[in-house]
């Protein structure tokens, strides 16, 4: 290896001294071409299942039943989308999901950013322990928590105006609070790492100006965390939107289930029209894909998970 370096280095130096970069460029460009072909192939392979689902959803069942999914189209229409929307009651389920996901994401981000602020900005004593406490909690397998929480929620009564089941079980509160508790750890971890990269002088200036703790947090630090909050918000929204387990366990009334479960309504008892199911799947996937595409510019910038510059 060292010999390798020694032999290449004078050559490289000579090349740049001579100003003849062309010789060096050529193989590099060919390398780029290969990289493009590789990335394009992988991208297509990654997109293929999605495109296939969209394609299947546009074709009538009789056609794909006869020729299979991998065939040329004869009829294309959006009929299945209309059917999926009306048959599955998807709108209602989508509302349920939003009732769970929106408060859960907002509260998680709020609480997590304060913990992160306390740990990495004002450096409360025992901050590192606090950080561990939250991070480790996020890494536990959710199934470990299932039974005790189930029993606990059955025992907690709620007034009728909070839950028509009169218990915490079978109410949105249960799913929201579990999502918050479970996602806190990850958000604290990311935000603490992010806040560590912010200049401490800003906070000191605010303190000199007599800002209280709340002002330091809400007016000074949070606005600087916008990229991280955007990235986390996207990530958390997708996770909670896609969640399957908590709703399955803590909700029994089928009318309260979130959208991920609505797909089952499109399965018939004896016969399942897979093209209809494909249309349903595309509809279920659409919001998260849109949210990601809209926010992706902020996404990478905000994800400085423990960057080496910190």
């Amino acid at each position: 290896m060292t010999a390798d370096i020694r032999t290449t280095s004078p050559a490289a130096r000579g090349r740049s001294l001579a100003g003849g970069d062309r010789r060096g460029e050529h193989p590099r460009r060919r390398g780029r071409f290969g990289v493009h072909i590789f990335l394009m192939a992988v991208s297509l392979a990654f997109l293929a299942p999605l495109l296939l689902a969209v394609y299947a959803s546009l074709r009538p069942y009789e056609e794909t039943a006869q020729h299979g999914y991998f065939s040329l189209p004869e009829h294309l229409s959006f009929d299945y989308y209309r059917e999926a929307l009306s048959d599955s009651g998807m709108g209602e389920y989508f509302k349920n999901t939003l009732v769970i996901a929106v408060p859960a994401v907002l509260i998680t981000l709020f609480l997590a950013s304060f913990v992160a602020f306390a740990v990495s900005r004002i450096k409360v004593r025992g901050g590192i322990v606090l950080l561990m406490f939250f991070t480790a909690g996020n890494l536990l397998p959710p199934q470990v928590l299932v039974t005790p929480l189930y029993v606990l929620f059955l025992k907690i009564p709620l007034p009728w105006w909070m839950s028509d089941s009169l218990t915490m079980y079978d109410s949105y509160w249960a799913v929201i609070i579990v999502n918050i508790g479970f996602q806190l750890g990850f958000c604290v971890f990311v935000l603490a790492n992010f806040m560590r990269t912010l200049p401490q002088e800003i906070l000191e200036a605010a303190i000199v100006d007599g800002a209280g703790l709340w002002t330091q947090f809400w007016r000074i630090t949070l606005p600087l965390c916008r990229p991280a909050l955007a990235a986390l918000g996207t990530l958390e929204f997708t996770w909670i939107y896609n969640d399957f387990l908590w709703a399955l366990i803590f909700i029994s009334n089928p009318d309260k289930l979130p959208i991920t479960s609505s797909l089952n309504n499109l399965r018939g008892q004896f016969f399942t029209d897979y093209n209809l199911l494909a249309a349903g799947s595309v509809l279920v996937a659409l919001p998260t894909v849109l949210v990601f595409l809209l926010l992706q510019r902020h996404f990478i910038a905000g994800l400085t998970l423990g960057s080496s510059k910190g």
Binding site: T135, L139, G181, I300, T304
Partner: protein, 307 residues
């Protein structure tokens, strides 16, 4: 000398007053107290309760009987799905760790080199991550189904189609492929974010010293990615131990798709409602997870000390 002491004392005093005005203290206590309490009630309390329940026999309604280690003995000796589930979880871990994760890193490195259309590649490769695993499970059926599935159509074996999802030797591999489809994009985006934050002067310095692209990456860039490596490692382990949704969406985790998480769910919320027994499986899963979590925390502590 005295004035210096006085100054530091005053500074300490100001520091203290900054920390301890009554309003600040109230904000601190409330806003730290709520999340800590929440984490105790939702995460740590139930974890301890699960450990306790694993030594009991309980159907969820009647009395709780202490049975000691009987659940664990039954688990190892008389519960046929247990060992296959352990094997599948380990296989899952190996597959994600040895194939999906390095592949995600490779993609991140290629995209980070600044190829054209990098935004397009990045979004496409990340796209599967935002999909619900229920949707992924359905797509697997669309592609791998026996009668009209794409793969069988291409293979043109209409008379004798391969049952990719039903054959108990094959289906776990198909599930791992589907899981990798998502995992790769996730790993890629984490590494991409990490690579963006690597100091470019490091690479320049390496290039001046005559290192080629591979040497620069493995000897200079990769070591500085250590924090990301740790996170990706933990995510890989945790995801493979947690794997649940995708097999549950395909066939409720039976017939070759047994996983520990599925067994827990079956025992706890299934008709049998063997909560003590389910908790014992949960504790097995917990023990394995904790091993990795502690490793991660030690790494993090070391990192925090360096900072």
């Amino acid at each position: 000398m005295r004035s210096v002491a006085l100054k530091t004392a005053r500074r300490a005093g100001r520091r203290r007053s900054r920390r301890f005005t009554r309003r600040d203290l109230a904000v601190l206590v409330v806003l730290l107290g709520i999340p800590v309490l929440l984490d105790i009630v939702i995460i740590w309390g139930p974890t301890l309760a699960s450990i306790g329940l694993s030594f009991t026999s309980w159907d969820g309604i009647g009395d709780i009987h202490w049975v000691g280690g009987e659940n664990y003995r039954n688990l190892v000796d008389n519960y046929p799905p247990f060992w296959p589930a352990v094997r599948h979880n380990l296989l899952w871990l190996a597959f994600l760790g040895l194939i999906a994760t390095p592949f995600g890193l490779l993609l991140a490195v290629l995209i980070d080199r600044g190829v054209r259309f990098s935004r397009f590649y990045q979004s496409t490769l990340y796209m599967p991550v935002v999909l619900s695993l229920a949707v992924v499970g359905f797509m697997a059926q669309l592609i791998l189904g026996t009668d009209q599935g794409v793969v069988n159509t291409i293979l043109n074996n209409h008379e004798n189609p391969i049952d990719w999802l039903g054959d108990s030797d094959l289906n776990i591999w198909m599930m791992m492929l589907a899981a990798s489809w998502r995992h790769t994009g996730y790993v890629m985006i984490l590494y991409l974010a990490g690579l963006k934050s690597v100091d470019p002067t490091l690479k320049e310095a390496a290039a001046i010293d005559g290192a080629n692209a591979r040497q620069t990456f493995f000897r200079v860039v990769f070591p500085t990615l250590r924090p990301v490596n740790v996170i990706v490692g933990v995510i890989t382990v945790i995801e493979s131990l947690r794997a649940f949704d995708i097999v549950y969406a395909v066939n409720k985790g039976r017939n070759g798709l047994e996983l520990l998480s599925v067994l827990i769910t079956d025992n706890v919320i299934g008709e049998a409602s063997r909560i003590g027994f389910g908790s014992a499986i949960a504790v097995v899963l917990l023990t394995v997870s904790l091993g990795f979590i502690v490793t991660f925390l030690v790494q993090e502590l070391r990192g925090a000390r360096d900072r």
